[in-house]
């Protein structure tokens, strides 16, 4: 079993993407042997339109065995209703984008939402970034998610679980070693933005933090999904440890 926790459908406002449909995702998944993907709705990261989640659910419904919806929930008055709808739709998690909404990522609204998600049994997926800061379009002004916000959110409620996507080595280390062991166990990291050799950041993090903290994330259709597999192939992992990254860690974390 292989699960990609960082996939999207829908248009991206700052760059044309060749194929943002479920069909596009499934084509790459079939090519790479990915069984399931947690799929977010890209337009919802940039808009509070109420149609985002219905669009996502409708788009993914014909492929519900492989594409699991991860609806976007925005901090604010509707968040409890949005969490309920996500739970009712069978979402494995929800996505939250405080930076794109111009909110304090560890402020009161985010903490309330995080506790609400925890009470609903829903992990929160946070993306550190969508693009390399060097290539952002001038209109794309949202800063990266700060590591301090992740540390604050995981400390805000003992039941909060966070899956952090598109973080690099220094971010991951700051949060992991700047949290208590119990807090760190409630955070998973995808490998979408962690460098392989010769710097070997991923190998180092696996050694220092343990392989249990890492899951597969590709970033498609923004990113070439083959890269995550290249990273895994460049690690000296036994088949058992590789399976942990591909799905085992995620499965254990979800039921823990």
């Amino acid at each position: 079993m292989t699960t990609d926790v960082a996939a999207y459908v829908g248009a991206y406002p700052y760059r044309h993407l060749p194929d943002v449909t479920p069909g596009g995702l499934l084509r790459h998944m079939d090519r790479l042997g990915i069984d399931q993907a947690w799929v977010g709705h890209l337009p919802s990261a940039f808009s509070e339109s109420a149609s985002g989640t219905p669009d996502l659910l409708r788009t993914l419904k014909p492929h519900s065995d492989r594409l699991l919806p991860v609806p976007t929930v925005h901090p604010g008055p509707q968040f409890a209703q949005d969490l309920n709808e996500a739970g009712a739709a069978g979402a494995p998690a929800v996505r939250v984008y405080p930076m794109q909404r111009g909110l304090d990522p560890a402020g009161a609204e985010m903490r309330v939402l995080a506790s609400g998600a925890a009470a609903a049994g829903l992990p929160i997926v946070l993306a550190v970034r969508f693009e390399d800061p060097r290539q952002r379009q001038p209109q794309d002004t949202a800063p990266d998610l700060p590591a301090a916000a992740v540390r604050a959110l995981v400390r805000a409620d003992p039941e909060v679980r966070l899956l952090v996507s598109h973080a690099e080595r220094s971010f991951i280390e700051e949060v992991h070693f700047g949290s208590t062991p119990g807090e760190a166990r409630r955070i998973l990291w995808d490998i979408a933005w962690v460098w392989g050799p010769p710097e070997d950041h991923l190998a180092l993090l696996v050694e220092t933090m343990g392989i249990e903290r890492f899951v597969l994330g590709t970033g498609m259709p923004l990113r070439i999904p083959d890269t995550a597999f290249a990273r895994l192939d460049l690690l000296d992992l036994t088949p058992e440890r590789r399976r942990l990254v591909l799905a085992g860690n995620l499965d254990r974390w979800r039921v823990s």
Binding site: H16, P18, R31, R134, P197, P198, E199, I224, L234
Partner: protein, 266 residues
């Protein structure tokens, strides 16, 4: 055959204690990926004694010596670019003449001067005279100055390339940050510029757009400082359904034509 046209190595004056291990990991990971040849440069002392992108003449010389040492330690596997700082014209030309005689196979220009500055002209002319390509560091659409470098973009490299039609230029790391779509439009019609696919950027659409803009004949594979992204792009490229001959061109065929004849063997 797989030729990485954009590799880097380190030495004991690079300011990092693990320089040997990093070099060894590049070779080892390359073997796992099937890299046959690393064409590499050393940018002075990597900022330790003078700035990475403005290396002093002494550091340029020392870095090139270390690059040659590595080339000699790995015959047939590692080849060097001669790094120069065009602000020191005489030194740069002397380094080029010396290092090419000693076996280096190309010239590396980073970001000590804009590509279209007249200080770069003697270097471009010498490259044509010697029959070696120039790998030029490029910021994909430089909208402003960035600290620590006088970076050039595709428009500026195209201006240099048009002034030197007999010089072959490798436009560095299309995935190295910035707006690659801007670059591709800027250099599409400048046929003495080849696109190096390296860089940590792995945007879907980038390789397809490069193929559309310049075709497989002007694409060369490379990794730069992240081999995993280079391998990811190579695998993706192989999934696009290109003719096998085009894939082979990108992996090695174009590089074999760009660098002096016969240096990579038969």
């Amino acid at each position: 055959m797989l030729i990485d046209v954009h590799a880097h190595f380190y030495h004991e004056r690079s300011g990092r204690a693990d320089w040997r291990e990093v070099n060894a990991r590049r070779i080892a990971a390359g073997e796992r990926m099937g890299v046959t040849v690393h064409v590499a440069s050393v940018l002075g002392t990597w900022g330790f004694r003078s700035p990475i992108y403005f290396p002093s003449p002494d550091d340029v010389t020392y870095g090139n010596e270390q690059m040659l040492r590595l080339q000699n330690e790995h015959p047939g596997k590692v080849f060097g670019y001669c790094t120069v700082n065009p602000n020191y014209t005489d030194h740069a030309l002397r380094e080029i003449d010396t290092r090419l005689t000693q076996g280096m196979i190309g010239i590396k220009l980073a970001a000590s001067r804009r590509a279209n500055d007249i200080l770069v002209d003697p270097i471009a002319a010498r490259a044509a005279e010697k029959g070696v390509p120039i790998l030029h560091h490029i910021w994909q659409h430089r909208r402003r100055d960035w600290p620590g470098q006088e970076a050039s973009d595709g428009v500026e490299l195209a201006q240099l390339a048009e002034r030197h039609p007999n010089t072959r230029f490798l436009l560095a790391h299309i995935g190295g940050g910035g707006d690659w779509a801007h670059t591709l439009r800027a250099v599409a019609e400048t046929t003495n510029i080849w696109i190096d696919l390296s860089g940590s950027g792995v945007d879907i659409g980038m390789l397809e757009a490069t193929l559309a803009a310049v075709g497989a004949r002007r694409m060369v594979w490379g990794a730069d400082i992240t081999l995993c992204t280079g391998w990811g792009k190579l695998r993706y490229l192989e999934s696009l359904g290109l003719p096998k001959a085009d894939i082979e061109r990108i992996k090695s065929g174009n590089a074999r034509e760009l660098f002096p004849a016969g240096v990579f063997g038969k």
